[in-house]
Symmetry: C2
Subunit: 367 residues, 2 copies
């Protein structure tokens, strides 16, 4: 059985964070015989510098062929003025679309050791564990027309199009219901059905899917603006949240910030299971961005990238015990008071990217 | 000079809150000779029940003719199943569109007496004073096509369209820059230019408008998802935020919740000044909704509605001293520990809707 990993470290702090994952892969291969085979490519600004595109055709082909893609981060001020079609984000969006990674899983968990780092009162976030399921290949991100037209007289018109078909809503809500069954069995679906036709259809299809196949799961509907409010007011009321691409972008960022653990949150983007092999295409990436301001200084927090690799172990290779162990290693290191600068607090021990990676690896070995 | 007010109390707690504003209007007319002339209509579910539409043509005509519209709230479970075209929100959306109320001003302020009611740590919200300027007549709320099509095979396709023209972005950003000049002189513009063409145009036009006419104001650009995060992380970094209709809906609700004063926040929706008279069409409404769960019990908080009337005094009638006085009356009543149930805290005096309105009016008289 193949265990191929395609690494796309990207820009900014991406390569530094990825280096720490590489240490864990190497250790697992030598000590646990996991047989991971890795290859590496370019995405984002560095790909633009090398090929004039945010990802080359060759690297796209490798990403498609791999069992899983590990993605760092893209973008930075250096590429702020490059044409829209080849901006760094275009590489990520193409990977999501061409690999059909429609289901984006974004856990928002609050590490107990970091509850006080949240801007929310600690009692509101302690023990927080939400899973946001964001639709990732549809909606306003990819709908056509998507244009800027010159109308003359100094006027331009910009158009973006939000499009959702029944099957897209059905498959993403099915993922949400299935995930809920492994958790607290509750799904909250968010849209703006009072303003958007796509919200009306979203609401209908989620309701029908629930009735047809998942009526054992608790289902609630919330308007997306009220959902944003409730996330800030009382986040622990949620278990699984399912929402569209753009609302998911906004709401998952708010949820991530609530936890006080922004530099620590991973994500998984999954495709449909292959009808023959049952395998899903998959990409794993930290929720944080490329943080160009601190890139290259060896101070970035690699935990989100390492936790993304833990999700990879769980969802792409069914190595559940190893995933649990890696997540436990992260929590233990935090409990010991080892901190990168972004999560530093009084009395803790401040370390750099590489020391944090080493500490997690040592803990992983010892567990 | 005419001083005509058209009152649309709407559904749920709307009528109860509006009754408290009426007391203030009556007092001002008798004691201060303000000469307000009021008329009243139906909007939302109650208009649907009466006429089968979310607002009648007659009431639309009255709203257009009035100097200002005071709007309560619309909607409730009773009307959840009415057809999309006549749902309660359609009345509000039609008022915004037909009166061309493109500039929605949503102050997010934290009343000192309520800082501890926020879910954020008090030091992050004490003294918070943000003004969100939301574009209100464009974007995905009104763009065409906006349809659900049957594709056969049990599949439907829903489409919403985000459209922005140069002039729409120019006029809303001009309002933001002008407002900033009366405050801390800083504007943050939020969009998703990395994903949306409307975000690209938004960013360009705001930048050009700034350069051409407002270069004395500090301007920053932020991606809307990062903006949501920053609002939760460190809201006091913002002075004026300008953003599109949908992002404005989401971000202003998050900001409102941060203040701990959700039941207290007003909004103003303004049109362009008439070239001859300089007058702007205007609608004033609380940020909170119709709260059907507590409607009719006399316990709703009328402060957001009263504060909306204070904005009306300020922006529609240039009664700046009276507006200041009314806002001060609200703050004083809170300082005295008088509270409706939604903002109740230990040691405070719990009152109903009408007592709260009376307390504010008494304070207003005394100031
Ligand atoms: C980088 C950007 C295109 C992306 C998005 O908007 O989806 C990011 O914000 C995310 O949430 O993964
Ligand atoms: C009631 C609804 C149509 C409205 C909106 O989405 O604009 C509300 O949420 C608001 O923010 O005023």
């Amino acid at each position: 059985m193949s265990h191929s990993l395609f690494l796309l470290p990207g820009d900014g702090i991406g390569p530094e964070a990825m280096a720490e994952v590489r240490k864990i892969i190497n250790y697992m291969n030598s000590a646990l015989n996991t047989g991971f085979v890795t290859d590496e490519g370019l995405v984002g600004g560095c790909a633009y510098d090398a090929h004039g595109a945010a990802i080359s055709e060759e690297d796209m082909a490798k990403a498609k062929a791999a069992d899983a893609v590990l993605f760092g981060a893209v973008g930075g001020p250096k590429w702020d003025a490059v044409p829209y079609e080849v901006r760094p984000e275009a590489g990520l969006l193409r990977l999501r679309k061409d690999l059909e990674l429609f289901a984006n899983l974004r856990p928002a968990i609050c590490y107990p050791a970091l509850a006080s780092a949240s801007s929310l009162k600690p009692e509101l976030v302690e023990g927080l564990d939400i899973l946001i399921i964001r639709e990732l290949t549809g909606g306003v991100y990819f709908g056509e027309p998507k244009t800027i037209t010159d109308l003359g007289n100094g006027q331009k018109r910009a158009i973006d199009t939000q499009v959702y078909d029944t099957y897209e809503i059905e498959r993403i809500s099915s993922v949400a219901f299935e995930m809920a069954r492994t958790r607290k069995n509750a799904v909250c679906s968010m849209e703006k059905r009072n303003v958007m036709k796509s919200g009306v259809l979203w609401n209908q299809v989620v309701t029908e899917t629930h009735k047809a196949k998942f009526s054992d799961v608790k289902l609630e509907h919330m308007l997306a603006d009220a959902g944003g409010m409730q996330l800030v007011r009382a986040p622990k009321q949620f278990d699984v949240i399912v929402t569209d691409n753009l609302f998911g972008d906004m709401l998952s960022d708010v949820a991530a910030m609530l936890t006080g653990s922004l530099g620590m949150l991973p994500s998984a983007s999954l495709g449909a299971p292959d009808p023959k092999t049952g395998k899903r295409k998959a990409l794993y990436e930290p929720v944080h961005g490329s943080a160009p301001d601190i890139a290259g200084q060896g101070i970035a927090n690699p935990i989100a990238m390492i936790a993304s690799f833990a999700m990879c172990l769980r969802y792409s290779f069914n190595m559940v015990a190893e995933a649990d162990r890696l997540e436990k290693a992260i929590a233990n290191v935090l409990d010991k008071g080892i901190r990168t600068g972004d999560i530093m607090s009084e009395g803790a021990t401040k370390v750099g990217t590489s020391e944090m990676g080493d500490a997690i690896l040592e803990e992983f070995k010892a567990l």
